[in-house]
């Protein structure tokens, strides 16, 4: 009986402590938001193409399989879909619907992204001309998950999403700068 009590206490602690921790962490100010910045040796116009053009976008956003062109044409209200491969789900493909909410080349691109019953969020790419052919790219994203269990896990998901985003912008920097070096 004593052992049963101990086991029950341990099991309860193993469930309650993580759930409480996740609930508290979920209330932090930056919950669901990710941000990544990078300075790239390229003009804003050169960099813009890598964000706007779907065929280039999929070269640096890892696990992107396909990006459809803007429809009807690039600008606020236009839509495009991105197909991502989910290696953590047996390589399943997931289509993300994007709707452009701000389109100001070569400075700002904001898109609203959603997958029914999964998540919806906003992603903003902001380009700042630093002069001397350098540009800073700031990528901000915020997501809200539909499923209550996933919302609970947000403190685990968001830092992972941020790490992924940092890896992606680092890849973009390498790609853009190596391409620029080839042209020189």
């Amino acid at each position: 009986m004593k052992w049963l009590k101990r086991i029950a206490i341990v099991v309860a602690a193993l469930l309650i402590i993580p759930v409480l921790t996740l609930l508290i962490l979920g209330l932090r100010p930056g919950a669901g938001r990710s941000q990544a910045s990078v300075e790239i040796q390229a003009s804003p116009e050169q960099l813009w193409a890598w964000i706007d053009d779907g065929s280039r976008l999929k070269q640096w956003v890892s696990w992107t399989v396909d990006v459809k062109p803007w429809s009807p044409q690039a600008g606020p209200g236009a839509t495009r879909s991105m197909t991502m491969r989910d290696e953590n789900n047996g390589g399943m493909l997931m289509v993300i619907d994007s709707a452009c909410t701000e389109y100001a080349p070569p400075k700002t691109l904001a898109v609203h992204m959603s997958v029914p019953d999964e998540f919806e969020g906003q992603m903003t790419y902001r380009l700042t001309d630093l002069g001397n052919g350098r540009t800073r790219l700031d990528v901000n994203s915020s997501y809200r998950f539909s499923n209550a269990f996933v919302r609970l896990l947000e403190p685990l998901v968001t830092p992972s999403a941020r790490r992924k985003m940092e890896g992606d912008v680092a890849r973009l920097k390498t790609l853009v700068e190596s391409r620029a070096a080839e042209l020189r």
Partner: protein
């Protein structure tokens, strides 16, 4: 090197220790050693060693059967499961967490997640090690825990960097031994 003429071949002694259960080892080893010494005196060490090796090999199936009947296999399987199951469950959980990343990601895991895996394996192996009633069983359970950790790593989908694999393979037996040393008899 001086060879003790009345010491049976080391490899077969080890095999006997590995195959025989706790309740039978002393009895079987004692009988075999007695006969071995007698044969060495009469026919020489070579003949005694050959006889010893043949006896050990012939005894293995029966000794293993006795171990299964005495419930030792259950202990070993529990120890293996104690390190394999947490690894597999956590792997499934991390896959779920990563599949919720809106723009998806690969199979590489954050260092914090890998550290949680190592801690969970260590804790589960410690609980399993606490069940061992003797040093010999504790040693067996720690080896089984390491084997279970290996199975867990092999069956996991997430990538396993070398430092992480080594940490898991060490944490399982270490946790088992610590569990035995700290909580035995309680």
């Amino acid at each position: 090197m001086i060879v003790d003429p009345f010491r049976p071949p080391a490899a077969f002694r080890l095999l006997l220790h590995a195959a025989a259960g706790e309740g039978h080892l002393d009895l079987v080893a004692g009988d075999l050693h007695e006969e071995f010494v007698y044969l060495c005196e009469r026919l020489g060490r070579g003949a005694g060693s050959r006889w010893y090796a043949a006896q050990v090999l012939r005894s293995i199936p029966q000794l293993l059967r006795l171990r299964i009947r005495s419930g030792e296999l259950t202990y070993l399987l529990s120890a293996m499961a104690s390190s394999a199951v947490p690894l597999l469950l956590l792997d499934r959980f991390w896959r779920f967490v990563y599949s919720q990343i809106p723009l998806k990601d690969g199979l590489d895991r954050a260092a914090g997640f890998l550290a949680a895996d190592v801690a969970a394996v260590c804790l589960a192996a410690a609980i399993s090690g606490a069940m061992a009633g003797s040093r010999r069983r504790a040693a067996m359970l720690s080896m089984a825990a390491a084997a279970g950790a290996g199975i867990g790593l092999w069956a996991s989908v997430g990538s396993a960097p070398i430092f992480y694999a080594v940490a898991v393979l060490l944490a399982a037996p270490a946790g088992s031994v610590v569990g035995f040393a700290k909580w035995r008899g309680k």
